[in-house]
């Protein structure tokens, strides 16, 4: 039976982006955050993580962070394919523009979920295994999927609009940095934060992803996480629409 076009594209995207160099960035960076920040701040933030320590608190945050990393993979795929001629080559092959886009999106989700699973496994070695309910697992999967699509769309938008390699890399680094540290990945949203930073936290979709995954991880889901996921879904639809529009209008190559 012939393999559908979309699966072939997902296979190709996965194979090309899982070389050792890419994996070091994709999994190594979050793993280092987990280990060094986790143990480093353990003594300072002993009360965090429902009494299980900062490492436990950080674990769902780092799982959520995988959505951002997956998004950067998605954006970089389009960027590299435009820059190095593969987008034009694929589009004179048996694929449509929409199939190519869906291929990137599904690959991003795959990377997001896969990365989160690796971080969960690593954390279970460091802090032991906890119990996550079936609902919790569902919320984790759904939230990281949604987050991966949001950040994948955001980076696709950037890679469709930007024409310079330096500009693309700078924007990518800036996005990772700001989104990561202006969220609840590493620390809770405390009342002592300056208003501007608090607003930034509230606007940052990664905060919603981190809060929902954390609620699921500690089996402490509340209606707040439900509302946050709803907002995230709406934001995802908007950014996905903008990304598709920019991508459909963009040149297929940098020539």
């Amino acid at each position: 039976m012939p393999i559908p076009n979309l699966l072939r594209l997902i296979y190709r995207n996965t194979r090309v982006n899982t070389d050792p160099g890419s994996l070091v960035i994709l999994l190594g960076l979050p793993a280092l955050y987990l280990v060094f920040f986790g143990f480093g701040f353990q003594s300072l933030a002993g009360a965090a993580g429902g009494g299980k320590g900062y490492l436990a608190y950080l674990t769902p945050g780092i799982m959520a962070f995988q959505a951002v990393m997956a998004g950067t993979v998605g954006g970089s795929m389009l960027w590299a394919d435009r820059r190095y001629g593969m987008l034009a080559q694929l589009l004179v092959g048996p694929f449509t523009r929409l199939q190519y886009l869906l291929g990137i999106m599904f690959t991003s989700v795959l990377f997001g979920l896969g990365g989160a699973a690796v971080m969960l496994a690593l954390a279970s070695l460091l802090v032991g295994t906890g119990t996550v309910t079936a609902l919790g697992v569902g919320v984790m999967l759904g939230t990281i999927t949604l987050g991966s699509i949001f950040f994948g769309s955001l980076m696709l938008l950037v890679s469709a609009l930007v024409k310079s390699n330096n500009a693309y890399n700078s924007i990518q680094i800036l996005v990772i940095f700001v989104v990561n540290f202006a969220s609840t990945v590493f620390y809770p949203l405390s009342s002592g934060l300056p208003l501007a930073i608090k607003v930034l936290f509230d606007l940052n979709p990664l905060t919603y992803v981190a809060d929902a995954v954390r609620g699921a991880y500690f089996s402490q889901l509340t209606p707040t996480e439900g509302w946050q996921l709803l907002v995230l879904a709406v934001e995802t639809v908007v950014v996905l629409y903008l990304a598709i529009r920019a991508y459909m209008r963009s040149d297929v190559s940098m020539e």
Partner: protein
């Protein structure tokens, strides 16, 4: 590199069937200047059709329109009997394209071929057989584990061309495929294409290299500024221009513009003179008469010749004569 055919047979429509009908397509990248301005021709199965032209003449734009990558703003095309606007994906399943620019995945040479085979849905055993045959045919054995981005320009080009033969096709579009290849590899590639053509493959081929066009093409179109200037079979082009001689001259001191104006008046109507600064290229069927007029004028106007040369015409003269202002245009769409 040449040898047994790489692609499966039989394929495509019957011999002699029109596989590509191009009717006055226009295309503009910015909505102002048109890169393509209504070229028209028909290509039949098993034909090798050459597109010659200067840089920016519109060759690559035409290839992109024919391969459904760009949509023409006017005019129409039929590729393998289908309309690209409606059946783009079905058309692309039956064509192969080697683009002018490089295109690679970040993996090894072997990986690039493998992935391409998977993208085209080639089953496992067949994929491995083709990959190994292509690696051998294109002399890539020593490079198969090397990353594509670490290769030289010529090596990359070999991989890019080899990769396209991973799948079957009815029409192969080659946009300057031999750029960066050494002489031996270039000839081998052309021979390889010839052996596929003998099996019924149709090839559309752009090049700057006129020897290649001479060696491979059945018909040639010279394109400039988005239009076809000359289109004919190679035999006809040679017949048309082959009886003529080319006189090249460069003037020394004296009134060069006045000399060339006077010379133009003395030449036969069929003679073609192209002038650039103090140099001229004259295409003539009567070289003796042209030469005596040329020398006589030089004496009466006290002009010295720095360079004077007479030679037979080549395909290069056809090309130069077509694209230079004042050249003889012979369009036969």
């Amino acid at each position: 590199m040449s040898g047994s055919p790489l692609l499966s047979t039989p394929r495509g429509p019957a011999a002699g069937t029109a596989v590509l009908e191009v009717k006055h397509p226009h295309h503009s990248y910015d909505g102002k200047r048109e890169a393509l301005r209504g070229v028209s021709f028909t290509i039949r199965r098993g034909e090798v059709f050459g597109l010659l032209g200067k840089n920016g003449a519109g060759k690559s734009t035409l290839i992109k329109v024919m391969t459904t990558l760009l949509r023409p703003t006017q005019g129409s095309l039929r590729v393998l009997g289908m309309d690209p606007a409606r059946d783009g994906q079905r058309i692309r399943q039956r064509i192969g394209v080697v683009q002018q620019g490089e295109s690679f995945d970040f993996t090894s040479v072997q990986g690039n071929l493998d992935i391409y085979g998977i993208l085209w849905g080639i089953p496992g055993e067949e994929r491995a057989r083709r990959r190994d045959a292509l690696i051998q045919r294109f002399g890539l054995e020593d490079l198969r584990k090397r990353r594509s981005f670490d290769l030289s320009g010529g090596q990359k080009r070999r991989v890019q061309v080899a990769r396209e033969f991973m799948h079957d096709m009815d029409i192969l579009f080659l946009d300057e495929p031999t750029v960066g290849l050494d002489v031996i590899m270039r000839r081998s590639l052309l021979d390889s294409i010839r052996s596929e053509v003998a099996q019924g493959l149709t090839v559309v081929f752009t090049t700057h290299n006129l020897e290649e066009a001479d060696y491979l093409c059945d018909r040639i179109a010279v394109i400039d500024d988005g239009r076809i200037l000359v289109l004919d079979t190679l035999e006809n082009l040679k017949r048309l221009y082959g009886g003529k001689r080319t006189i090249e001259l460069t003037l020394g001191e004296g009134d060069a513009p006045g000399y060339f104006r006077a010379l133009q008046e003395r030449l036969a109507p069929t003679d073609v003179l192209t002038v650039k600064d103090r140099s001229g290229i004259l295409l003539t069927q009567e070289p003796k008469q042209a030469l005596s007029a040329l020398v006589e004028l030089g004496q009466t106007r006290a002009i010295q010749f720095e360079w004077l040369n007479i030679r037979k015409n080549t395909l290069e003269d056809v090309f130069l004569n077509s694209v230079e202002p004042g050249g003889e245009n012979h369009a036969d769409p």
